[in-house]
Each structure stands twice: as C-alpha cells, then as structure tokens.
C-alpha cells in the first residue's frame, strides 16, 4: 500500500473532489480526529521519540497451562500509522496474539513494549489506561444487547467518566460516518450483521485509539460489505491510526497491498 501523507491539505483536496455537501460530517469528524492524533503524536515524541513503534514484541512465547507453546519466538514491531493483515490457518494463534496485543493476556516469556513501555513493569491498575489507547473489534461484535447502537458506541466514553452531553455530537457524527446515522436508537438484536460490525468498529474508534485491532471483521458479512469495511479501515489508517486486521479471507487481503503477518504453527513470518 502506498503511504499517503495524511495532512489537512490532502483532506481538503479530497473534499474538493467530491461535493462538500456529502463530506461535511466526515470533514468535521476528520479534522477533529486529525487534531487529536496530532496531539497524541506530540505526546509520544516528548516521552519516547518519534522512532518508537507502537508495539514491540521480543522473543515472546506463550503456552496455555502445561500445553505446547501456541506462540513461539515472536519478534516484531507494529509501527505507527501502519496497516497490516494478521493471517494464518484456524488455530494458528491469531486470537491469542490479538489478546497479547490488547494486554489481556500475559506472555509466558519474552518482552512486550506497548507505547514504549515494558508491559511487565506496568502495574495492573494502569492497564485500563493503556487499553484505552487501543481499539478492538471482535468477530462476534460483543455489543451489549440492552443498549442502543448509540449507547453501545458511546460506551468507551461513558466508561471514562465523561458527561453524556459532552460527547453526544461526536458519537452521532461517528455513527453517520460509519453509515449508522439512521440506526442510533435501535437495539443490536435488530441490526444486521454488517450494521453490528460497523457499530462494533465505531465503538472501537470512539475514543480515537492509536491502534485498531480487528478480529475477523469481515467474517460475518458478504463480499461487498467486506470491501466497504476494508475501505473504512483504510480510510482510518490514512487518518493516522495503525490497523491490524486478523483474517483468513485471502480475497480480502488481495485487494490491498499491505504488510502481511502470517502465523503458522506458532511462528510468525512477515511480508512487507
């Protein structure tokens, strides 16, 4: 994939190409998103220098209980603003690797650096703060059934103790951006698979994460919807968010010339 400078100049060029009318919401959200990402960038550069990857794995290994090692000698980086597919046959350990990336699981051995910090040195009480910088989309969506689309998507902000009035417009904008503007007051049971998937993505994006992890985001949707979702991720990536998509959908991966991380029998090969 080509690297596109995601500057505001570029955005405005794009806006001029299409009608301003249709892009208004998107522009509003984008400018805000860009602003926040730039702010994050400043923060990073102060604390750790620009060259650091978001996530760094070194000789990481993992076994469940006394079983065999599911993951072996993982050494890789996830750079800022990168876009990659994580793939491999079923049972190769994709979900386990995603859980490691999300700090939901401790490795049996090896070192994981998240945002420049050694994970083993971080007290458990601080982990939620780091997790807030990572967005995660599950294959089974994990939307709360008794909350509306709007409430589900607003959940990350609610959890951070923000007032509903302070984020309402942001949530509505984001919902429009993912094409759920008409479905805000609907419970998940009524949403289609694609809509649920987009709601889950919107929830992951709500607090403008620095990295987005998606587990089989196209597993439950038809090919056209899969393409749309992929475009959504790519657009997000252009705005500066690193994206990791775990999938075994070869057709999907063939549509984009992106970095591929291939897991086979617990080992990882990376094709840039």
């Amino acid at each position: 994939m080509k690297r596109i400078p995601s500057s505001r100049k570029f955005k405005w060029l794009m806006l001029r190409k299409r009608g301003l009318k249709s892009a208004l919401f998107r522009a509003l959200f984008t400018v805000r998103l860009l602003g926040s990402l730039r702010d994050n960038g400043h923060h990073e550069s102060e604390s750790q220098g620009l060259g650091h990857p978001l996530i760094h794995f070194e000789n990481v290994g993992l076994r469940y209980g006394m079983g065999p090692e599911i993951l072996r000698d993982m050494t890789f980086d996830i750079p800022k603003r990168s876009f990659q597919f994580l793939t491999g046959p079923s049972g190769a350990g994709k979900t386990t690797l995603l859980r490691l990336l999300f700090m939901s699981l401790h490795p049996t051995r090896g070192i994981i650096h998240m945002f420049g910090r050694d994970l083993s040195q971080i007290p458990r009480s601080e982990l939620p703060m780091l997790r807030r910088r990572v967005g995660i989309v599950f294959q089974d969506f994990r939307l709360l059934d008794h909350l509306t689309t709007y409430e589900n998507v607003a959940l990350p902000l609610r959890v951070r103790g923000k007032e509903e009035s302070s984020y309402r417009n942001d949530v509505l904008e984001l919902l429009k951006w993912v094409g759920l503007g008409e479905r805000i007051n609907v419970l998940p049971a009524v949403l289609s698979g694609g809509e649920k998937q987009r709601a889950a993505i919107a929830r992951a994006l709500m607090d403008r994460p620095e990295i987005l992890l998606a587990d089989e985001p196209t597993g439950n949707v038809d090919p056209p919807m899969a393409r749309r979702l992929l475009n959504l991720f790519m657009e997000l990536n252009r705005l500066g968010t690193a994206v990791v998509i775990a999938t075994h959908d070869l057709a999907l991966m063939d549509q984009v010339d992106a970095r591929r991380m291939i897991l086979t029998e617990g080992r990882l090969d990376i094709y840039e």
Partner: protein, 352 residues
C-alpha cells in the same frame, strides 16, 4: 486506490439514509433527520431488573424487617426495664417484724423519724393497717384483723435518686434502735432488672449481628451471581478500557437501588407493626388481653428514638449492601482479570 476507497466508504454511509422513507423524497428526509438527533435517556449499563434482583430485594426486606423488629423490641424492653428500675429505686422500705412486747406503732414512727434524719431522704409514709390489709388481700382474703396476725409492717421512704442516703449507716442505726427493723433498699431487684435489661440488649445485639451477617453473605452471593450473570458485560467493559472501580460503581448503583427499596419496605413494615400494636394497646386498654400483653412486653411505645433507630437501621442496611457489593465486585473483577491474563490457568478463560 484512494479514489476507489473514498466513494465506497461514502456509499457505505449513504445507502442507509433512504431506508426509512423509500419513495417520498423530501418529507421523508426531514423527518428522520429530526428524529435521529433525539437519543433516549441513557440506559444503565447493567440491565435494571431481573428475577434475581427481585428475590434479593425480598430477602433484604425480610432482613431489614427482622433487624428493625429486633431493634424495636430491644428499645422497648430497655424502656420498660428502666422505668421499673427508676420507680423502684426511688424508694426504700423499712420492714418491722412483730414481736411480743413490741409497740408496733411507736416502732414504726421511730423508724420513720430515724430514717428521715439522714440526708437524701425526702418523705416517710407508714403503711397503715388498711393498706397492709389490702396488700395481703390476695393471699389472706378480706375482713382481716391485723391485730390477730403477726404481720410485718412497712415504712416507705422516698429518696433523692441523685443523692441517695447512706444505706449502711441507716441500717446499722436502725438495728441498734429497733432490732426487729429491716431495711430493704431493693438493690437485689434493681440489680436483677439491670442485668435483665443488659441481657435483653445483648441478645438483641446478637440477633442484629446475625441478621447483618446473613445479609452481607446474601449480598455477596447475589453480587457474585449478578457478576457471573453479567459476565459478558464485565468483559465488554474491560475491553473498552473500564477500570474496576468504574465497573464496581455500576454494580453498586444497581445494588443500592435494590437494597434501598428492600430495606425501606422492611423497615416501614416493622414501624407499621409497632404503630399498629401501640394503637391496639391504647384502644383496648384495661382488657385482659391487653394487660397480659403489657405484662409480657411492656407498652408498645418505641418513641421517636425507636422510629429514628428503625430509619437508621434502614440506612445502615442500604450502606452495608452497597459497600459489600462494591468490595465483592472489585475483588471478583481483579480475580477475573488475573485468571484471564494468566496463560497458565485456563479455568476462567473467556470465550475468545
């Protein structure tokens, strides 16, 4: 590729718009746009009520009822005991046993006068023959001639409770002046009453402690049950970056509501019961049933302090429930977190 992806993303957003109002273009567009800005009042993160919540509310109501009942009973017994105690300790009696050759009337007067010389005594009354006869009536029947019987006679001395006289000095002087006199300061009775009241309070406190312990345990079980029933919610909250204190506060809110309702119902029921008993007692004054109940329980007045106590018990129960829920949730979540993050343990492994 950019050109490709852009319009696609736009298309992904667009087709949803006309979904609600298919053919009519303009009014259909306006209506949903107004409607979509309206969002329902934010629902609680935990589903508000379920069977389990109702059962817990009933349990808390029963516990609160029992706690308030115990509290009221203790208050009542204490009030009765202390009223007896003050009535009795306000007076002492000098008993003079008849003996051949003793001028009873003179001895009674002498004993009274001697007692009144002490500081702290107020009044002395000699129980005259009719009063003594009345006292003995239940045992000996009417028409009694006291002169025929060797009946002891009494002098009742009221004393200043705050500044009681020197009982031992009085006793010694009485003994030398009238050997047949015996001073009873009712200490044995007072002591027995005091110990009875203390025992009642102790028993009451014991029952309260048991009730509270049972309640805390019930709440712990209920909280754990609610947590495992809402495990998927806890998981989602975890993945969107919630701290355990946030999750705990959500559960806490949930349990505060339940326990407030439960303890209010239980406490109100107990207060009503006391009020009803009080009304019944005052309405059926001097009937045998009421007299029997009064003899057994004292009067059913628990007073303002009693009702305040019931209110305080309700608050304590609500607070206790809330705090228990909070600590249980925090501990359980940390446990879940620990198990989830430890690859060596697969017992608490989440679905994915």
């Amino acid at each position: 590729m950019n050109e490709l992806s852009r319009p696609k993303a736009a298309r992904a957003a667009k087709p949803k718009t006309p979904q609600k109002g298919p053919p009519q273009a303009e009014p259909a567009q306006k209506q949903p746009r107004r409607a979509e800005m309206r969002v329902r009042p934010t629902a609680p993160i935990l589903p508000p009520s379920n069977i389990q919540g109702n059962a817990l509310m009933v349990v808390i109501a029963i516990m609160a009822f029992l706690a308030c009942l115990t509290f009221g009973a203790v208050t009542m017994v204490r009030a009765t005991a202390s009223s007896w105690q003050s009535q009795i300790s306000r007076e002492i009696t000098i008993q003079i046993k008849p003996e051949d050759g003793l001028d009873m009337d003179a001895a009674l007067k002498k004993a009274r006068d001697l007692a009144l010389t002490f500081v702290g005594t107020r009044e002395g009354t000699i129980m005259d023959e009719t009063a003594t006869a009345r006292l003995l009536e239940p045992w000996l029947g009417t028409g009694l001639n006291l002169a025929d019987l060797p009946v002891p006679r009494l002098v009742i001395i009221t004393i200043d409770e705050q500044n009681p006289p020197d009982f031992n000095g009085m006793r010694a002087q009485l003994k030398t002046a009238i050997p047949q006199a015996f001073l009873d300061d009712h200490r044995t009775w007072v002591d027995r009453l005091v110990s009875m009241a203390h025992t009642t309070v102790l028993i009451g406190t014991g029952v309260l402690v048991l009730v509270f312990t049972a309640m805390i345990l019930t709440v712990i079980f209920a909280t754990r049950g609610a947590l495992s029933g809402n495990r998927h919610i806890v998981e989602v909250l975890h993945f969107v970056g919630a701290e355990s204190s946030f999750v705990a506060s959500e559960f806490q809110k949930h349990f505060l509501k339940i326990s407030m309702k439960g303890s209010a119902a239980g406490g109100a029921l107990a207060a009503l019961l006391f009020a009803a008993a009080n009304i019944w007692q005052s309405n059926s004054l001097a009937t045998p049933e009421s007299d029997q109940a009064t003899a057994l329980f004292g009067t059913f007045t628990i007073g303002v302090t009693g009702y305040l106590g019931i209110f305080a018990t309700m608050i304590v129960i609500a607070l206790l429930t809330t705090l228990t829920a909070r600590f249980t949730v925090m501990r359980t979540i940390d446990e879940i977190d620990l198990i989830r993050s430890d690859p060596a343990r697969s017992d608490g492994l989440p679905a994915s």
